[in-house]
């Protein structure tokens, strides 16, 4: 029987991914939901909630509004809040019940935009996918709507960092570290999507030579920017010395205009990493190249096949994961995966905000420049 979890956690959902991606951009995000999504998001998914007053709200849809298909209540409430708070843009994202009643989010956004004069987006999330899909949708929306001007390229080779949210990078300095590490290799960062840079900075994205997609949350924006401005993308997250390979791919992409997905040849291995697709694959590449031992990745969130190496797999629930963990000698994963891992496997804790939320936040390492947090545990 699939879709059951005897004991493990579940990833943050698409609707939280929308919120997380847009959090620092000065907009107002509305989750069209009865209740629950708001406290889940701001308790477990959003480490910035206490200190930063980003506008993320809940519609509070009731049974009668759902039965009667009363979109006007949603629209007028959004318009009222926007008039009070004057956000830079408005995003409306869905949850299970709006999906069941067929809420047309693009139409809702269109009416809101007409009434307020504020750019509005409708995202048909439904709470049934992981944050990766929602965040990707949201960042693609920003790219599509706000990155419209073809700007002169920067003099030095430069990138936009696509797919940076606390759900994959936590709040331990990793997000800012991406920029400084790339600088050491002579690669400038035009914009970070979306931690640390504001909407005006993101609007300069067309001046970058390459987009570096550091998590699957950046894939949607990468495709929009490629289509509109011909900016090639490189898929991979900087980890330790693996960053040098990524940088070579960035230079190659800038030179050829072709997308790059660098991989280390990795055979089926007894050392396994579970996590977000691009992060897990990148870490497998980094560990394999630094240690000489093969690692394989299990992407537990939605990812594109192109991201995966030959030995990597996608698995969404316990039934899919268990066969892939058979015989594993080393497992690197969030601590909440440990109960389903082979008892005799060497389990290395790698907490992931998108999976265990705030529980192990203090343990989340910044491995952007140095992966010894893992390698010393392998010794």
């Amino acid at each position: 029987m699939r879709q059951t979890a005897r004991i493990i956690s579940t990833y943050t959902a698409d609707v939280s991914g929308v919120n997380s991606a847009l959090f620092e951009l000065g907009g107002m995000t509305v989750m069209h939901d009865a209740s629950g999504c708001n406290s889940t998001y701001n308790t477990h998914d959003e480490p910035r909630w206490y200190d930063h007053d980003s506008l993320v709200f809940l519609s509070g849809i009731s049974e009668m509004e759902a039965i009667m298909g009363d979109d006007e209540k949603l629209i007028s409430d959004i318009v009222s809040a926007a008039e009070q708070l004057k956000p830079r843009f408005i995003a409306v994202a869905g949850t299970p019940i709006p999906m069941m009643i067929g809420t047309d989010f693009k139409a809702v956004a269109s009416v809101v935009e007409k009434r307020t004069g504020i750019p509005a987006f409708g995202f048909a999330t439904n709470g049934m996918h992981t944050y990766v899909e929602g965040a990707s949708m949201a960042l693609a929306g920003i790219a599509d709507r706000f990155v419209t001007e073809k700007m002169l390229k920067t003099q030095d080779i430069s990138v936009n960092l696509l797919g940076v949210t606390p759900l994959d990078f936590s709040v331990n300095g990793s997000a800012a570290h991406l920029r400084t590490v790339l600088e050491k290799y002579g690669i400038m960062t035009v914009s970070n999507w979306a931690m640390g840079d504001d909407l005006d900075t993101l609007m300069q994205a067309s001046s970058a030579h390459v987009n570096l997609v550091v998590s699957d949350a950046g894939m949607g924006a990468a495709k929009v920017l490629r289509e509109r401005f011909g900016i090639p993308y490189v898929i991979g997250r900087p980890y330790g010395n693996w960053t040098a390979t990524l940088v070579n791919s960035i230079r190659k992409a800038a030179e050829t205009g072709e997308d790059q997905v660098p991989q280390v040849a990795r055979e089926w291995a007894s050392a396994v990493i579970i996590g977000e697709g691009i992060s897990a694959v990148s870490l497998a590449n980094a560990l394999t190249s630094e240690t000489g031992r093969a690692f394989r990745a299990i992407a537990a969130t939605e990812t594109e096949r192109v991201v995966l190496g030959a030995s990597d797999r996608i698995a969404r629930d316990e039934d899919e994961l268990l066969p892939l963990l058979n015989g594993a000698e080393i497992v690197i994963a969030d601590p909440l995966y440990q109960p389903i891992c082979p008892k005799d496997a060497h389990f290395i804790r790698l907490p992931h905000e998108g999976f265990s939320g705030r529980i192990f936040r203090d343990e989340i390492p910044d491995m952007t420049e140095d992966i010894s947090y893992i390698t010393r545990q392998l010794a």
Binding site: T4, A5, Y11, L55, L58, E63, L85, P96, N126
Partner: protein, 441 residues
């Protein structure tokens, strides 16, 4: 970089002087903000009060997230499992199969056999017309030695009929099976937080020869089942009342609803109602009333004119508390309440007549996200939300009255106020812990 939003936002729509507050809803129903105070319990915390029970939630991943991590933060993952509903289930309408086979799959994989399963269904089951009676019937056929009960995570129903919180507190006792009534046993029901054992409520009953049980006292399922033999159920929490009514109907246990109050006359009236129903003689409570008078005087001496703010999560009767404090000279300066309960109607009228300008703030109104969360002078907050919105480190960290009932309960609350006034707390850290008192870390 991150910027504080809002700029020149005023309090219109987010605050109303109490004289203008409509009953029961002083604010418009609009978009909702959720602040960082997390001490109130949710349905996961409450469900775990049933000993030896396993919780299974069936819903979409987005809805599972919060409950799964609630269980994880309680370090109770081994008592918690999930069934994830996906788009194909909605489209194919195989919700009954998913539920029956999913629960079966989980129970077959569990390393232990739970005595009971709390099965939580969601808004999706409600809207799709899932045949829940059929599901429970099949599961009971398959697992003869496990008790199943229906629980709900369907917040879309929170504005119609019983709220999910009321349903959960009713569900807590739904597993009790009829047994012979023991006229010497009384339950206290409906609370997430156990009643303080020093309460004169418990003392009076024990002195009269009754055995008093709350679900918190039950360390195994058999002890829990013994609650079915009580002759009376006492409930003082408004959201627990529906559970008491259900037990009266199903098991014949008489409900004594004695709502929490901070008014001495109301406390005495509740005890008179109780003693009359039980055929007891009303004890002399003058020592308790004198103690309360002294505690009020002492607290006033310590706290003086310091502004006091109160929120609805600290106690089920925030207006009753505000009234009592104002009557004794305390400087209550703001209330944080989104709606008023029926029990508070008289207190609302009194406050409107005597302190008409007292501000009532919504906690969920969107402007509360950006309005300043600070006060220019030392402020004592009662409750986590009041502490958050006033930015004070001086606060009483309780939810649901902290289990403090009656005269002794009010005395203990006053002592907590004094302590909070004298000692700073780490507000940021404390209020973000979920389910205060349930063992979350």
């Amino acid at each position: 970089m991150l910027k504080r939003m809002g700029g020149e936002v005023d309090t219109t729509g987010a605050m109303v002087p109490i004289k203008n507050a409509d009953f029961p809803a002083p604010f418009k129903s609009e978009l909702e903000y959720s602040c960082s105070a997390r001490g109130t319990w949710n349905i996961v915390h409450t469900g775990f009060l049933v000993p030896e029970a396993h919780e299974i939630f069936a819903c979409a991943a987005g809805c599972l997230r919060g409950v799964v991590l609630t269980a994880a933060e309680m370090n109770a993952q081994d008592r918690f499992s999930t069934i994830e509903i996906r788009e194909n289930n909605v489209l194919e309408g195989d919700m009954e199969d998913l539920l029956i086979e999913g629960v079966t799959d989980i129970l077959q994989k569990l390393p232990y056999k739970p005595r009971a399963v709390l099965l939580y269904t969601s808004c999706i089951h409600h809207f799709i017309g899932c045949d829940l009676p059929l599901c429970y019937a099949r599961l009971r056929e398959r697992f003869l030695d496990i008790d199943f009960t229906d629980c709900y995570m369907n917040p879309i129903m929170r504005k119609s009929g019983l709220t999910p919180d009321q349903l959960m507190r009713r569900g807590l006792y739904a597993l009790l099976k009829q047994r012979d009534i023991d006229k010497n046993r009384i339950n206290i029901i409906g609370n997430n937080i156990a009643t303080d054992k020093d309460s004169e409520l418990i003392r009076m009953l024990e002195q009269a020869g009754y055995t008093i049980t709350e679900i918190h006292d039950c360390h195994n399922y058999d002890a829990y089942q013994q609650m079915a033999s009580a002759a009376f159920n006492i409930c003082y929490n408004p959201v627990g009342k529906a559970g008491g009514e259900a037990l009266e109907k199903r098991l014949g246990q008489k409900l004594l609803y004695l709502p929490l109050s901070y008014q001495p006359a109301e406390i005495l009236a509740a005890y008179e109602k109780m003693t009359k129903a039980l055929g007891m003689e009303m004890p002399d409570l003058s020592a308790e009333t004198d103690a309360l008078t002294a505690a009020l005087r002492h607290a006033k001496e310590v706290i003086g004119e310091t502004p006091i703010t109160i929120d609805y999560t600290a106690t089920m009767r925030p207006l009753s508390l505000a009234r009592a404090l104002l009557e004794h000279g305390f400087n209550v300066t703001a209330l944080y309440i989104d709606s008023f309960s029926g029990e508070e109607k008289g207190d609302l009228a009194w406050l409107q007549a005597h302190f008409p300008e007292l501000p009532v703030y919504a906690t969920v109104q969107v402007k509360m996200r950006v309005l300043p969360r600070e006060t220019c002078e030392k402020t004592l907050a009662i409750g986590q939300k009041a502490a958050y919105f006033t930015g004070t480190p001086y606060f009483v960290n309780i939810v649901e009255c902290g289990g403090y009932y009656g005269f002794s309960g009010f005395c203990k609350l006053l002592a907590l106020m004094e302590d909070a006034f004298l000692h700073e707390k780490d507000t940021r850290k404390l209020i973000q812990i979920k389910g205060l008192g349930c063992g979350c870390v």
